[in-house]
Amino acid sequence: MMEITLILLQLIFFIVVAPFLSGLITKFKNGFRMRKGQSVFQPYYNLLKLFSKGQVVSETTSWIFKVTPFIVISAVLTVTLLIPVFIFSSPLYWMSDFLAVIFIFALSRFFLALAALDTGSSFGGMGSSREMFISSLVEPALCLVVFSVFLQFGSTNISVFSGQHAVSVSSMVAAMALFLVAITETSRIPVDNQETHLELTMIHEAMVLEYSGASLALIEMAAHIKQMIWFFLIAQIIFPITALNLANLTGLFFWGLWYLARILIIVIGVALVEVLVAKMRLFRVVDFLGFVFVLGVIAMVCAILGV
């Protein structure tokens, strides 16, 4: 019973908060640019709008195109249940394995790419090609980061690392790398640009170009949630939260504050990067990810040296 409630709690938490974070990032970006900018709740409006609109489906598409949104959303929702949020263990702790998480994301990506090819437009092809290219280059770096972080826990289970580790050099470097990975995975500047629809630069957008209405809403939702998941993981690594005791409320209050604050810090970080850095050419991304890989190696070495 406990677990069921936890599951529902987490699901609802992610679904409700995720768009907010995207809105927040946009807000911050505009702030840095000295603009007023759209409301923080704009993503919610977008989703509602999309749901209320009808959709157009290309005649060349097959059932792949139709099922993809559900697979994508199910993948991310599944992952939400695998990471610890409220307590030091995820609801499905006996399958909350980080490597598995990577594979599950791969599932959603796989189908998005297929759906993009399914439309038969060259945008879709371009998008899926680039998406697969970048993601496949992300994998090794990510793998190294996972190793270097989880080696000190002796297991790749996400549930184990909340609350029980001290920040070390290696974990800092790893978090740095993970941050860059997150930027790549959430298709943000400098790797990709969510705001453009210029053929030559878009990657993720190009894949979902043919989607409209509710399907698009699901996909966007998935994107928001995925981003939130990454933030939580990074937060868990850099700013490990101490055990909270429900006894004294002030403690609880400060704990909660800190809990949100660390997410906020990451959000600001992302916003800063988006503002400060220019979008890279596609083949510069190779170097970028190479750099991430090197970071991973460094993290690994630090982990081995025990610093």
Partner: protein, 630 residues
């Protein structure tokens, strides 16, 4: 007769026959869990392929050839069975050779193609060279054991000096590597596998190259016994290289069966990662990890057998339906042949290691093995294992890209030619063959916890250690790679959750979504007609990779413009190729060298009888001069 005693020392046939006794086998068969496991693999792939071939062969060949192919198929399967069950080195060799021979016949089965002859030639030559290495290794073993039987060899290996062991190991590695297609000995594989009829390709890729893995496990781990850690490291390095090379070439390929063949090279690499880890852990005295990583390797072995068999069968169906293997001419087949499409999709998902299918489980296990290895080792090995794992992950990503390309270009979008335009769904026999394997691909994913226990038994026998104390899964439901420590994975549960969440999404979609969608053309930027020529081709898809890995692929392209006037370009032709590094820089020079020296040697026989007489005279003089040297 008195003079006979004079020649007792030499050529005395009685003596000879007595001495020949130990030349002949006493123990013919050895059937232990390892053999049984490989038998399972063989039959799991062979049965559906056989069923499939009913439909496939009909109309392709004349009836007499069909009978011939059936005969060869049966011999092929039998020979593989023999390879994995015999208990005597000589008979193993014979079975091995028969297997190569029959598979060669099957590769050159389409005698009309010059290509298939060429492919077969490369194939058989490479295998024969491999066999030469094997013979050397076996005979060194025999020299120490004074017998060809496995058991006596096993006993002899305990007392074998380490340097000899190293030599034997290297010879075995080279010998079996040629068959398994370890880089750089993989050169034959992408030629030979596609040329055979598809059901044979599926058996060759699915099973035959696995017999080489069997050989490595049986001879190196089981008989020889690992004694120095550099063996494992060497195999790991080779395996990683194999993975990457295989998958990169697969990405570049536009012939669908060659693409699959290259991806076989990649998967052999992944399997070898498991085996190499096993050796490393054995030499590091970590029985639990050794068993675990061997499980991972074997698991991926059977998985690869299943989904690669499946994929080759699907490719065969595509070929049968469209008459071409060039993916740039295909497209949109999902509408004409929906079932085949589903099977191919399942195969692609499995080989891209997507949950909850079987490929996912075995790759996860392999990564876990790496993680645990890094966990329990120290210093350099830790980093080495970490980087190996990272490269494995890279391989996984590239493989996913490769199969997105394969499935997307072949089955999705618009048909690019009228090969694909008027394709028909393949007959029932073929579909049932594919269905069987697709079904297995799912089952081997879901039932991981159960299978892993069986594999543990096999591994235990291979390393003859007691595994009763080790546990790899909780009540056949949750995989516990760390035996109770907190790394878990429950594939059935994961599948369930995925389905539930998907349904939830669907429900939401249905509840709040707006009516039924409107069907319209793909958005074409106002360009009035969007046709197949506007689609992204497979070559275009793989272009980023081609550029990223240009240091290895050495791509080059030719462009030519035909201008009517200065302003108007009438036509523009562009073609690009990649250089096959190993072929160009290793094999071609080698062969050239051999031929050149042979041609040079040919000069000693110019046809002048006087010269010939002079030879005789000279050799006579020389021999007499150096008589006392002999």
């Amino acid at each position: 007769m008195v003079y006979i005693y004079g020649q007792r020392s030499f050529l005395f046939i009685e003596v000879i026959l007595f001495k020949m006794f130990d030349f002949f086998p006493k123990q013919i068969f050895i059937v232990d869990p390892l053999s049984l496991f490989f038998l399972l693999v063989i039959f799991v792939v062979s049965l559906p392929s056989a069923i499939y071939s009913f439909g496939y062969l009909k109309g392709e060949y004349s009836s007499s050839k069909i009978t011939l192919s059936w005969f060869l198929l049966v011999v092929f399967i039998l020979s593989m069975t023999a390879v994995v069950t015999v208990g005597n080195v000589l008979i193993f060799l014979v079975a091995w050779e028969i297997m190569s021979l029959v598979s060669f016949f099957l590769v050159v089965f389409d005698t009309t193609h010059e290509k298939s002859i060429w492919a077969g030639t490369i194939y058989i030559i490479m295998t024969h060279i491999g066999t030469a290495f094997l013979v050397a290794a076996f005979l060194i073993l025999h020299k120490h054991a004074h017998s060809f039987d496995f058991m006596s060899i096993k006993n002899a290996c305990f007392t074998m000096p380490a340097p000899t062991k190293d030599i034997v190991f290297l010879l075995l590695l080279a010998g079996f590597g040629a068959k398994a297609g370890i880089v750089p000995l993989h050169i034959w594989l992408p030629y030979a596998h596609p040329q055979a009829p598809s059901h044979i390709s599926s058996i060759m890729s699915g099973v035959m190259i696995k017999t080489a893995i069997y050989g490595i496990i049986r001879f190196v781990i089981f008989l020889l016994g690992v004694n120095s850690s550099w063996w494992g490291v060497l195999i790991l390095i080779l395996a990683v290289i194999t993975c990457l090379v295989g998958v990169i070439y697969a990405l570049m390929e536009r012939d669908i069966k060659r693409l699959l063949a290259y991806s076989s090279v990649e998967n052999i690499g992944i399997i070898l990662l498991g085996v190499g880890l096993t050796m490393l852990f054995i030499s590091m005295k970590m029985p639990y990890l050794a068993v675990f990583s061997l499980i991972a390797g074997l698991y991926h072995l059977v998985n690869h057998a299943i989904f690669k068999g499946l994929l080759f069968l699907c490719a065969g169906s595509v070929y049968k339906a469209t008459g071409t293997r060039d993916i740039e001419k295909l497209g949109g087949l999902i509408k004409n042949m929906p079932q085949s499409a589903v099977y191919f999709l399942i195969g692609s998902m499995a080989i891209s290691a997507l949950p909850p299918l079987n490929g996912f489980v075995s790759e996860w296990l392999t990564l876990q093995a790496f993680f645990l290895g890094a966990l329990n080792s120290i210093g350099g090995i830790k980093l080495f294992l970490g980087i190996c794992a990272a490269l494995l992950a890279l391989t996984g990503g590239l493989a996913a890209a490769c199969f997105v390309k394969a499935f997307g270009v072949v089955f999705l979008g618009l048909p690019r030619s009228n090969y694909a335009q008027n394709a028909k769904e393949v007959p029932l026999s073929m579909r049932s063959g594919m269905f069987f394997l697709a079904f297995l691909a799912v089952v081997f994913g879901i039932a991981a916890g159960y299978i892993i226990k069986l594999l543990a038994k096999v591994a235990a026998v291979v390393m003859n250690i007691d595994i009763s104390s080790m546990s790899f899964s909780l009540n056949n439901f949750i995989l516990t790679p760390q035996a109770g420590k907190s790394a878990y994975l429950s594939v059935p549960m994961l599948a369930l959750v995925l389905v539930v969440m998907g349904l939830a999404g669907f429900v939401v979609y249905k509840l709040f979504g707006k009516g039924k969608p409107l069907i319209y053309k793909t958005w074409d930027c106002g360009y009035y007609k969007l046709g197949p020529r506007n689609e992204y081709t497979g070559t275009a898809f793989s272009k980023p990779f081609r550029i990223a890995f240009s240091f290895f692929l050495l791509p080059y392209h030719k462009t030519q413009k035909v201008r009517e006037s200065f302003y108007h370009v009438k036509s523009f032709a562009y073609e690009t190729h990649t250089t096959f590094v190993f072929k160009k820089y290793i094999y071609a020079p080698l062969i050239a060298l051999v031929l050149r020296s042979a041609k040079f040697m040919r000069r000693i026989q110019p046809g002048s009888i006087h010269l010939y007489l002079a030879y005789i005279f000279l050799i006579l003089l020389l021999l007499i001069m150096f008589m006392h040297k002999f």
